[in-house]
């Protein structure tokens, strides 16, 4: 499992980073989204991978790490998801505004000769 998830994180990161380096704002926003998947999975992975051990206790129960997966990274990922969503929205609107003002969807607000 670890190897698959690492590969997934790697590919998501690579795709995201590649898009971040591209000249079109839309590419960048897609890149940021892919990157945020990668980051979320990365954070998640920091709690180690467990199948069928969700950190949900029986009522009245006391949990320990031998039976349940680490809940902390999950809580962190939740926060990261929310913030990531907010930032995607923000970036989208900024890129729209930029496109509105400059007429182009180039990240620099003007067409460069070759990218």
């Amino acid at each position: 499992m670890e190897i698959i998830l690492s590969a997934a994180i790697g590919v998501l990161t690579a795709s995201g980073v590649y898009l971040l380096l591209r000249p079109r704002t839309y590419q960048v926003i897609i890149g940021l989204s892919l990157l945020s998947y990668a980051v979320n999975l990365f954070i998640f992975g920091m709690g180690r991978l467990r199948v069928n051990a969700p950190p949900v206790l029986e009522p009245g129960g006391v949990g320990d790490l031998s039976r349940f997966t680490d809940p902390v990274p999950q809580a962190l990922v939740l926060t990261a998801i929310v913030i990531g969503f907010a930032m995607t929205a923000l970036f989208l609107v900024v890129l729209l505004a930029s496109r509105g003002f400059t007429g182009t969807d180039h990240v620099d607000g003007r067409e460069q000769r070759h990218d």
């Binding site: 199948v51 969700p54 949900v56």
Partner: protein
């Protein structure tokens, strides 16, 4: 013996669903038209939901259920957004 067959049958089911997702992916990436891609995504969603259900059976844990339920109830929203975008050029008029 029975344990093994249970494991295997569910695994086979999951692999089949995975393949179904792969085929859906083919449509998403190859199109040829936008509607094909969206249909592909919709199929991907449905198969993913089925995958969630099989996962629930496999682990006998019902915590997968909400995710499946959300796919079933809300998953169509993004598809109709796509559809409306195709049809009207904007999704909220």
């Amino acid at each position: 013996m029975m344990e093994l067959s249970i494991i295997w049958s569910i695994l086979i089911a999951q692999i089949m669903l995975g393949l179904a997702m792969a085929f859906a992916f083919y449509r998403m990436v190859r199109g040829p038209r936008a509607q094909d891609r969206i249909l592909g995504l919709d199929t991907l969603y449905i198969n993913a939901m089925l995958m969630l259900l099989t996962f629930g059976i496999r682990t006998a844990n019902s915590l997968y259920f909400e995710s499946a339920l959300i796919v079933a109830l809300i998953g169509f929203v993004s598809s109709i957004a796509f559809g409306k975008f195709l049809m009207r050029g904007e999704i909220i008029e």
